[in-house]
Symmetry: none
Subunit: 159 residues, 2 copies
């Protein structure tokens, strides 16, 4: 038994295939009509299947000529690599190791210097907040660091 959510999700994925580009624009109202559901179900589909963490970016506009644009930044068949990255990071990672990992990825041209910079800024920011704002113990910070780093790397999931 396929849930409607899965059906709609699959349908959207086929749209990517058809349109050669890595971007799809759709109307929430029309899609809902097409599948005979309430419009807000579309939001659920997007939330559960097309999140940034899953390598998609969504832009939308309300009002007249409203739209929902979904950009695909990674291909579905990189799960293996993504898993590898998750293993690489693990559940806990020190600040030093995270830096080393990012440096290595950059050297291999898996990420650009700018991308590495954003990642480092985000990690450092989280770390600082954890220390000064919430007074977290080092271990907690190491797990949170691992989570953020994994999310970032997996979302990119490059070859």
């Amino acid at each position: 038994m396929n849930s409607l959510t899965k059906v709609i999700g699959d349908y959207i994925v086929t749209l990517f295939g058809d349109s050669e580009g890595s971007e799809v624009v759709l109307s929430r109202k029309d899609l809902a009509q097409k599948f005979g559901c309430v419009p807000s179900q579309i939001n659920y589909v997007l939330r559960s299947r097309f999140s940034p963490e899953q390598g998609f970016l969504i832009q939308s506009q309300r009002g007249g000529h409203g739209f929902i644009r979904i950009m695909q930044l990674r291909f579905a068949d990189c799960d293996e690599y993504a898993e590898h990255l998750e293993d690489l990071v693990g559940n806990v990672i020190s600040e030093q190791d995270s830096r080393k990992l990012l440096a290595r990825l950059q050297e291999r041209d898996a990420i650009t210097p700018r991308e590495r910079l954003i990642a480092e800024v985000a990690l450092r920011n989280q770390d600082e907040n954890g220390r000064t704002l919430f007074d977290l113990p080092p271990y907690k910070r190491d797990t949170m660091r691992a989570e953020l780093l994994k999310k970032i790397l997996v979302s990119l999931a490059m070859f």
Copy 2:
């Protein structure tokens, strides 16, 4: 289907491209005529797409020889650009606005889609932690979002 507002906005952007300069002069009435809309729609286009926030300044004159002049702002160096970005973000920013800002920067090729993706993942991660782990009130999350976003954008501006 594009909204008229977008069509007119895009048209004005092409005018900048054609005329090499960083300034464009036009007549509200003629433009409205060209696109078959009421003149006040032009004001809406200007307000929504060519605001100072978005890097444009507008001068206009009424009366017999009325005109509208749109000037594109330029930044002298990256410090100035960084400052502009900090102003754009402000001390507090909603999730929606942060996403819109990132989308706009990407559209203008100030950042790549992948860079935008990392930024969104980092912001969402912080938000989720704030909500579920630390139970922060919305306002606090809005300020923390602004801080992280500023750090990211400024770091890129310097690059």
